[in-house]
C-alpha cells in the first residue's frame, strides 16, 4: 500500500515507536525567536541540560522589533535599533544572552540576515524538502511548501527539542486539498488559502496534515506555496505540505545552506521520492476549482469568515444554526459592519503589506506593479514591511522602495510588525485595516483594531482606492513621463 508525502517524511524521522505511546520524532531544524523561548532556556538551566544540537538550531529577533528606518544627523539612513518598551527590550536581550550561553546562532536586529523566522529559513536554503522543522510559532507550517513536515510548538516543546532534538508525537491524519484549473489574472495564492479556510472552517483541519495538490498548486512559485502552507494553521491544521518539484529544487539550489556538488545530487535524488504514491489514500479529501476563484477577503474575526470581494457583508438573520448566528452577530458588531453592505464599499484606515504570509520579494513586486505611477488614498496610511533585511535589500536593488515611497507608503525594516499587536506597529482602537497577514482575530493588530485579510494585490488596489478593491477596479495608471505609450 502506498504512502502519502506526510507519512514518508514522518517515517524517515521515527527514533522510537511503541504500542500505546506517541512516536519519538527526530527534528532536523529548530527555529527560535524571542517570545516563546525564554522559559524554555530557563528550564534547561534549572535542569542543568545543554542544547543537544546547537548546529540544528537557529534564532532570529522578529516579534518585538521596531521597524522604523530613519535618517541620522549625518544624513545616513539606518535602522532604529532601540526598543523603547522596556519589557520588549528585556525579552530580546534575554534571547541574546541565552543564545550566547547555549551556543545558538542568532540574527539580531541590525544583522543583514535578520528577519521573520519563516522568511529567514527558506531564503538561507536551510529549509529543505523532507526535513522535520519546528518553531515556537504556529506559522512554522510555512516551511511545508518545500515538502518538509513543519509545525508550530509550545514553549514546553521548545524546551523538549532544545534538550533532546526530538518530540513525542501522535501521527497526524492526512487530508488532500486539490486545487484544479488555472487561476485568473489578479487571483493569487492568498485567495486560494482564504477560500480553503472559508470552505473547511477554522477547525476543519484539526488533527490533519494538509497536502495541497493539483494544477493550480503546481503552477505556483515557492513564495505562493509558502503563503498557502503558512495559513494551514488558520484551518486548524498544524502542518501543510506541497510535494517538492523542479520549482522547489530551483529555489533551493545555490542558496547558502543548500547541499553542494555530489551531496546536491544525492539530496535531489531523495527529494524526488517525496510525493504521495498513486495508491496511497488520504483520510479526507477536499477539492476546489481554481478556475472559479476570485479575489477573497475576510469580513469577520476569524480567518474562516471570508467571502469573494464581489459579495456583501453576510446577514446573521439568514443563518439557521444558533451558535453560528451568534458568532456572526458578535463578529459584525466588533467589525462595525452592517449586513448587506457590499465589501467593496468598506473604507480602511491602514494598509499593511508584510508578515510571514506575504512579506517576500514576490509579494512586494506584485504590490509595486499596482502602485507604480499611482498614489495611495490620502485618507489612509500604508506600511510596507519586508519579511527580512535580505528582502528589503533585494527590493531596493529593484527600485521597489522608490515605487512605494513615491506612492505615499512607508518603507520599513524587517519584522513581524503589524501582524500582531506586540511591537510599536499597531492599529488604534476602532481603526480598520486591509492586511496581508494571517489573522483577523479581535485586537490582533492592536486593541480594538479591525482587520480584513487580503492578498498583496488587493492590499495595493485598496491603498489606491481607499475601499476594499482588486486591481481590476483601478483606472489605468498614467503613463510615466517621457514614455511614448
Amino acid at each position: 500500500m502506498g504512502r502519502t508525502l506526510a507519512e514518508k517524511v514522518w517515517n524517515a524521522h521515527v527514533v522510537h515507536s511503541a504500542e500505546g505511546e506517541p512516536d519519538l520524532l527526530y527534528i532536523d531544524l529548530h527555529l527560535v525567536h524571542e517570545v516563546t523561548s525564554p522559559q524554555a532556556f530557563d528550564g534547561l538551566r534549572q535542569a542543568g541540560r545543554p542544547v543537544r544540537r546547537p548546529d540544528l538550531t537557529l534564532a532570529t529577533e522578529d516579534h518585538n522589533v521596531p521597524t522604523l528606518f530613519q535618517a541620522g544627523p549625518d544624513g545616513t539612513r539606518s535602522r532604529n535599533l532601540l526598543i523603547e518598551d522596556p519589557v520588549s527590550r528585556t525579552q530580546v536581550e534575554t534571547l541574546r544572552a541565552n543564545c550566547a550561553e547555549f551556543g545558538v546562532r542568532l540574527f539580531p536586529m541590525g544583522d543583514y540576515e535578520q528577519g521573520i523566522v519563516h522568511v529567514v529559513g527558506p531564503q538561507l536554503g536551510i529549509t529543505q524538502p523532507g526535513m522535520t522543522i519546528v518553531c515556537g510559532d504556529s506559522h512554522t507550517s510555512t516551511h511545508g511548501a518545500f515538502g518538509a513536515l513543519a509545525f508550530g510548538i509550545g514553549t514546553s516543546e521548545v524546551e523538549h527539542v532544545l534538550a533532546t532534538q526530538t518530540l513525542p508525537l501522535k501521527p497526524f491524519k492526512t487530508m488532500a486539498i486539490t486545487v484544479d484549473g488555472t487561476l485568473a489574472p489578479g487571483v493569487t495564492a492568498k485567495d486560494i488559502i482564504l477560500a480553503v479556510i472559508a470552505k473547511i472552517g477554522t477547525g476543519g483541519g484539526q488533527g490533519y496534515v494538509l497536502e495541497y495538490r493539483g494544477e493550480a498548486i503546481r503552477a505556483l512559485s515557492m513564495e505562493g506555496r509558502m503563503t498557502i502552507c503558512n495559513m494551514s494553521i488558520e484551518a486548524g491544521a498544524r502542518a501543510g505540505m506541497i510535494a517538492p518539484d523542479e520549482t522547489t529544487f530551483d529555489y533551493v539550489q545555490g542558496r547558502d545552506h543548500a547541499p553542494q556538488g555530489e551531496q546536491w545530487d544525492r539530496a535531489v535524488e531523495y527529494w524526488r521520492s517525496l510525493h504521495t504514491d498513486d495508491d496511497a489514500t488520504f483520510d479526507a479529501e477536499v477539492v476546489l476549482d481554481g478556475n472559479a476563484l476570485t479575489p477573497f477577503v475576510t469580513w469577520g474575526t476569524n480567518p474562516g469568515q471570508g467571502l469573494p470581494l464581489a459579495d456583501a457583508v453576510p446577514d446573521p438573520e439568514s443563518i439557521a444554526d444558533d451558535n453560528e448566528r451568534l458568532a456572526t452577530e458578535k463578529a459584525l458588531s466588533y467589525m462595525d459592519l452592517t449586513p448587506g453592505t457590499p465589501l467593496r464599499q468598506i473604507h480602511v484606515d491602514t494598509v499593511f503589506l508584510g508578515s510571514c504570509t506575504n512579506g517576500r520579494i514576490e509579494d512586494l513586486r506584485a504590490a509595486a506593479d499596482i502602485l507604480r505611477g499611482r498614489t495611495i488614498d490620502p485618507t489612509l496610511r500604508m506600511l510596507v514591511v519586508p519579511g527580512s533585511m535580505r528582502v528589503r535589500a533585494q527590493a531596493e536593488e529593484e527600485g521597489l522602495d522608490r515605487v512605494f515611497l513615491d506612492a505615499g507608503a512607508e518603507w520599513r525594516s524587517a519584522g513581524c510588525s503589524m501582524c500582531l499587536g506586540m511591537n510599536p506597529d499597531q492599529l488604534a482602537p476602532g481603526e480598520r485595516s486591509a492586511s496581508t497577514s494571517n489573522r483577523n482575530f479581535e485586537g490582533r493588530q492592536g486593541k480594538g483594531g479591525r482587520t480584513h485579510l487580503v492578498s498583496p494585490l488587493v492590499a495595493a488596489a485598496t491603498a489606491v482606492r481607499g475601499t476594499l478593491s482588486s486591481p481590476a477596479d483601478l483606472d489605468p495608471a498614467p503613463a510615466p513621463a517621457g514614455s511614448n505609450a
Partner: protein
Amino acid sequence: MDAFTSHTGIGIPLRRTNVDTDQIIPAVYLKRITRTGFEDGLFAAWRGDPTFVLNQPDFRAGSVLVAGADFGTGSSREHAVWALMDYGIRVVISPRFADIFRGNSAKAGLVAAQVTQDEVELLWKLLENEPGTQVTVDLQKQTITAGPLVIKFQIDPYIRWRLLEGWDDISLTLRHADEIANFEATRPAFKPVTQ
C-alpha cells in the same frame, strides 16, 4: 508537573465559539520572560466588559471553564495555558480544541476535556440557571459531574496517563537517549546545519 486526579470547582459558562489564543491572552501580554504572572492578560479585552462572565461575582472564583467549539485556535503561545492556570482554571471543557492548545495543556497540567456540543449546551444551561454550581472533573473515571449531570469526557489515553502520573516529557524521552544517538549517526550528510 503536579499529578492531576480529580478537581472540583465552580463552573464558568463561556458562550463563545472560536475562542482564539489572542483572546485568551493578547500578544502585548507575552513579553514576560518568567513562567508565571500571566493572569493579568487572561481575556484582557473581554474583561473590560462588565457583563463578561468572569466579571460576574458568581463566576469570578471559577476553575472549570465550559466553552464553545474550537477553543484555543491560532497562535502556538503556551502563555494561553499559563494565563488560564495562573488565573486558577484547572479544566477547560469544549466540543473541540485546537491541536497545539491541547498539546500545550497536556504539558502544563491543564485538563482539556472534550464533550459533545449537546453536552456543552446542557452544562451552559445548568451553570447559567444555577450560578456557582460546583463541577467535579474526575480524570481517573473520565467523568464530569455537575448537579444532576454526569458526563463522560474524551481525552487522549497517553495524555491522561501522563497527567495522572505527573510525568514530564523530557525525562520520559531521555530514557531513549541511546536510540536518539543511533538515529543521529544515520542521518544523511546532505542535511543542513546552521553553523
